[in-house]
Symmetry: C2
Subunit: 360 residues, 2 copies
C-alpha cells in the first residue's frame, strides 16, 4: 500500500492506494463521532456495501445506509435530498460522518451532502472507479448538476481520508475503466511529458487491468493533482489547469444529456479539441496532435463527438464555470506536458477545432 498526503494545513488528509485494503484498520483513526452514513448506489450495493457496513460496525459505530440509483443523470437536487432524508430519519447529528462508497457521482453527492448537512459534518471517500480514484476523490470539489449546467451547485469539502482499492476495479465495466484513463492521460498532457512516455509504454497493460500498473497510474495522477490542489485549493489560478478538456467536454455532455456519454469520454474528446485548437494556434505540432489522439484512442476512448450545432455547443461552453466576467477562458497546450489557462485564443480557430472533431 502507498500513502499520499494532500497538504492542506489543518485539513491535511491521506489517500491510501493499494489492493484488498482493510477498511476497519485504515478508517478507524478518521471516524470521530458515533454515526456513519454510507452512501452508495444500486450497482455497488451488492458488491461491497455489506463489507463496509460490517467493518464500520466492528468499530462500534452506528451505521445507516443510503442507496441511490446509479448514474450521472441522478446527480440532481432531488436525489441529493434523499441523502438529507436518510440522515434525518436516522437522527444523525453534527458529529456524524458521511462515507461515499462509489464513483464520482456518489462522491460528489455524498460530499456535497456532508458539506451542507447541519452546515458541515465529516466526510470519507472510498472511490470505486478509476475515474474517481484519480480525479474526483482528490481536491474537495463536490456538487450536483442542474438542467442548465453541470456541477453548477456545490461546495468545497475536504474528506478526512480517501481509500482507493485497486481490487474494486476488477468489477468495473471496460467503458468506465477507459473513462478513468482519460483523466490519467490528462495529468500527463497538462504537466508531465515523462508520464506521457510512461503511459505510451504501458497503455496496453493498463487497459488489461494490471493491478500494479493501475496503482502506479493512480498514485502518479493523485500526486499531480494533490500538488496542484495544495497550491490552489479554491481554484483561483493553477488549479484551473485541471480543467483541460473539460470546457469542451461539458458542452458535449450537456448537449447529449447527462449520462449518455461518460464524463471521461467527453473529457477525452474535449482534450482532442483543446489539442486541436492548440495546434491551430501554432503552439503544438501536427505530430503532437496525432500523438495526443493516439494515446486517447489506445485507452479505448472517443476522439470525435456526434455532430452538435455550433450555436448549441458555444451556448453550453458559455455556461461553463471557467467564464470570468463574461470572458471565456480555455485550458490549452503550449506543448505536450505543459498546459496554460488563457482567454487569448482565436474564436474562429476554436470553432474550427470543435467542428473538425465531430462526426459528420
Amino acid at each position: 500500500m502507498q500513502t499520499l498526503h494532500v497538504e492542506l494545513g489543518e485539513r491535511r488528509y491521506p489517500i491510501f492506494i493499494g489492493s484488498d485494503l482493510n477498511p476497519q484498520d485504515l478508517l478507524a483513526p478518521y471516524i470521530f463521532g458515533q454515526q456513519v452514513m454510507i452512501v452508495t448506489n444500486t450497482t455497488i450495493q451488492p458488491l461491497y456495501l455489506e463489507h463496509y457496513v460490517k467493518a464500520v460496525e466492528a468499530l462500534g459505530k452506528k451505521v445507516a445506509t443510503c442507496v441511490l440509483p446509479d448514474g450521472e443523470k441522478y446527480k440532481d437536487i432531488q436525489h441529493l435530498n434523499l441523502i438529507f432524508d436518510a440522515l434525518l430519519e436516522a437522527s444523525f447529528n453534527r458529529d456524524c460522518t458521511v462515507l461515499a462508497l462509489g464513483g464520482g457521482v456518489i462522491g460528489d453527492m455524498a460530499g456535497f451532502a456532508s458539506a451542507c448537512f447541519q452546515r458541515g459534518v465529516y466526510f470519507i471517500q472510498v472511490p470505486t472507479t478509476l475515474l474517481s480514484q484519480v480525479d474526483s476523490s482528490v481536491g474537495g470539489k463536490t456538487g450536483i448538476n442542474h438542467p442548465l449546467g453541470k456541477n453548477m451547485i456545490g461546495a468545497f469539502q475536504q474528506p478526512q481520508v480517501v481509500m482507493a482499492d485497486m481490487a474494486q476495479l476488477k468489477s468495473l465495466p471496460d467503458r468506465e475503466l477507459s473513462a478513468g484513463l482519460a483523466e490519467v492521460i490528462k495529468y500527463a498532457l497538462l504537466g508531465d511529458e515523462s508520464f506521457l512516455l510512461w503511459l505510451e509504454a504501458n497503455m496496453d497493460g493498463l487497459v488489461a487491468r494490471d493491478p500494479d500498473l493501475l496503482a502506479e497510474a493512480v498514485y502518479r495522477s493523485c500526486a499531480h493533482k494533490a500538488r496542484i490542489v495544495a497550491n490552489d485549493e479554491k481554484e483561483q489560478g493553477e488549479r484551473a489547469l485541471l480543467n483541460l478538456g473539460h470546457t469542451f467536454g461539458h458542452a458535449i455532455e450537456s448537449y447529449l444529456g447527462y449520462g449518455v456519454w461518460l464524463h471521461g469520454e467527453a473529457v477525452a474528446t474535449g482534450m482532442v479539441m483543446a489539442a486541436d485548437l492548440s495546434q491551430r494556434m501554432g503552439w503544438i505540432s501536427v505530430a503532437d496532435l496525432e500523438r495526443t489522439k493516439k494515446i486517447i484512442q489506445r485507452a479505448g476512448l472517443p476522439i470525435v463527438c456526434p455532430e452538435i450545432p455550433l450555436q448549441d455547443f458555444l451556448g453550453y461552453m458559455a455556461h461553463d464555470k471557467k467564464v470570468l466576467n463574461g470572458q471565456l477562458r480555455l485550458v490549452l497546450l503550449k506543448q505536450l506536458g505543459q498546459a496554460i489557462i488563457t482567454k487569448e485564443f482565436d474564436v474562429e480557430l476554436m470553432q474550427q477545432a470543435i467542428i473538425a472533431n465531430q462526426t459528420i
Copy 2:
C-alpha cells in the same frame, strides 16, 4: 449612520446601520463582478425592489431578480432551487453577487444559494426586518429547513457587506417587530445585564418604533453578536450561547409547523423555558424569572406555548443541532446577563420547565 465591523480576518465586513441609507453609494465598493441577482419576496417586492434594482443598475451592473413567496414555510429545497434556476437562466458566472433583500428567510436562502452556486459567489445582505437586522444578517449562518428539522441543511457564508436601514422597519407588521425584539432581549439575557436595564427603560419606545432607539438596539445587538462570532466563527464553543431559547423554540416551531409561530415568538417562549429551568436548577431567582417573563411580555411576545405532548417536544429537541454525540446540550442562565452552555442539567426539571410554560 453607524458602522460596525465584523472581524473575520480576510473576510472582515462592515454593517451599516442608519435611516434612509443610499444603496448606490454604500454598496458600490462591495460589488466585484458585473452581475447582481437580487433575491426578495412578494411582500418586499412592491415596497423596495425597484429602488434597489435602480441603485445597482446605476453602478453599471447587470441586474436580475428572483422573487420568492413570503414565509418560513417556503424555506425549503424546492424554493432554494428557484434561485439556482434564476441564476442559470440569467447565465450568471462565478464572479456574480447574490443580494438578499428581505428578512431572515430571504437572507438564509439567498446566502445558502450564494454559497453553493458555482461552489461560492459573492453575497450582500439588506435585511428588512428587525429580526434579520439584529440576528440572521450577522454571523454567516445560512440554510434551509427540512420536514424533519429546522435549518438542517446549510452553509457558513459571510457577506461582503450588510446594510440595515431603519426606515424599512416602518412597513413591518407589529408581530414581526416583536419577533425581532425577542432576539434583542436574548443578547441582554445571555451576556449584558446593563443592556437588559436599558431595554427595561426603553421597551415602550422600541415597541412604538422610535427610530433612534431601534438603531441603538440594533447596533448593540449586532456588536454583541459580532464579537461572539469573531471569536468562534464555526460554532465550536462560545457561539453556541447565541442559541439561548432556540432548542426549546425549535421544538415549538417544528411541532406547530413552520410559519405558524414566528421564529422570534418561539425563541421568546423558549427563553422563558430556559430561564424557568435555570430557576429550577437554583441558578437564578424566582424574581429573575419573573423579570425575564416581564420584559418578553412587554415586547409583545408570548411567554407560553400551546400544549405539546411531551414526547413530541423531546423528540424535536433531540433533532436539534446542539445535540453532540447523542448528548443534548442546553443554553441556560447562570444569572441574568450570563448564559452558559451545558449538558449538566436535570432532565426531570427540564420536563417540568417545558410543561410549566404551556397553556393547558
